[in-house]
Symmetry: C2
Subunit: 299 residues, 2 copies
Amino acid sequence: MTFENNFVNWVHATMPTTAKALLPNGDDAALLSSSPRGTLVATDMLLDGTHFVVGQTPPELIGRKSVAVNFSDIAAMGGTPDSIFISLAVPHSTCPKWLERVMNGAAEMAREFNCGIDGGDTNSWNGPFAINVCVVGRPHWRGPASRLGAKEKDVVMVSGRRLGDTLASEHHLNFTPRIKEAQWLLDHFEIHSMMDLSDGLASDAPRLAKASAVKIVLEVEKIIPSPWDAKDLRSALCDGEDFELLFTCSHANAVEIEHNFPWSCGIRRIGTVEKGEGVYLLHPKQTEAQLLDLHGYEH
Amino acid sequence: MTFENNFVNWVHATMPTTAKALLPNGDDAALLSSSPRGTLVATDMLLDGTHFVVGQTPPELIGRKSVAVNFSDIAAMGGTPDSIFISLAVPHSTCPKWLERVMNGAAEMAREFNCGIDGGDTNSWNGPFAINVCVVGRPHWRGPASRLGAKEKDVVMVSGRRLGDTLASEHHLNFTPRIKEAQWLLDHFEIHSMMDLSDGLASDAPRLAKASAVKIVLEVEKIIPSPWDAKDLRSALCDGEDFELLFTCSHANAVEIEHNFPWSCGIRRIGTVEKGEGVYLLHPKQTEAQLLDLHGYEH
């Protein structure tokens, strides 16, 4: 009890709050000013042993990642994050300083995008460390991007220079959510469909295809740089936690986007949308694309 | 992966959604229509062994409680809940049917207040079962109730016929959040300050006193029905999880409220607000109130 009270007092004294918060932190619920365009809500729970390893992962990166994966969801809608709510399940043995370092990592990511940490819940228990983040934001003035609008003859594009190898490179811990990049895309172009890559292209592309009721054909040589082997391809398709934008738009817009994209992460075409269903892979020197068999690539 | 996918498909097919949701379930974030009066957000994480016991607590009651504690926070602000987001940390050994029963309990509570389950996150792990609920709602047309406005000479009131004994009576699992009661209060009266009793009167009343910068004097004989012993008093003050409304208003309004309160849970005066700070207890036949020493009552 005392531990929770002290921690909550530290949070109230230390963490950034947003201008959207209309009441001081510490009431039963937060009151946020709302956008007439609606309210975006994303939530993700991150767990010790699954998304990070307590004792190996620096606590700041645990906090940072917990916020960033939710920002990536808001980015996937083309939205702007405003307010962050953090719930913690804390093992009894946890050092308060370690927990403060987790929160400092969350606060750093929050400040980078002018967000506040406007509420939460802290409990200690006998289980491992778990953190749930809920982010509230607002959609783009054009309305939200969604998974639903991919059209026949669209080009499939992805942000970033590479997919896969996210664990060894620690990309999954220190990636920057593509909020600014997504907003730039929606500012200037009609983006027919968009999502973020969290489970890997082999899992996520089929979701986009299904939601939009279209067939997607991905070109292997555009997905990964040459030279590559089967292991590299599996990594690019299945590692997950890329947190890049996957989206579709017209061919004309794709050319413009490639030409004018002003962000350092890069952007590129990796496939096309056709009439039909499912996701197909076109291998080099083949003329006919093969149905992407997720299980064939799973670890 | 297959377990999560199957479960998510079951959720999308089964769970209620709200008219506030502007996109079908299953995108990266939910888009909700927003109220011009602002957006209320509450979040609570409930843990196996702390807030319920897997194997002893019926799973429906775990789901019900997880939503209800958040509804109680929205009630404390006088607000209306709209949308529910549920994150789950699920032990690998969990039977899918058990998890569906948890969700059915959550859905039942959601439907009772016309809410939808509009998003969430599911992960399996080696730890115990944990559930985080985030509720998004809107404030009362008068604006939000808060902990900040208690005034000298206010009367302190509480909903419900008794405090304490919440564990043995299973009240902590099957209570009804005081959403309608709180709205009725704000509809008809100027409520100066309000919160819900989640940690027990001995912990929560000092928070209200501190937030409003006032002294609160509670009368023991109004808190618990006679005859009572020291154990009963400790239970009423410290058991926690009452999830009743604690609020203050003018004396004239308190009389009107007691006289006209139309809800079966009952409502009553338990104390007064004075100039000063801290929470004091007035024992029967004593003329001077004693400073409430929380530690003296802790288990």
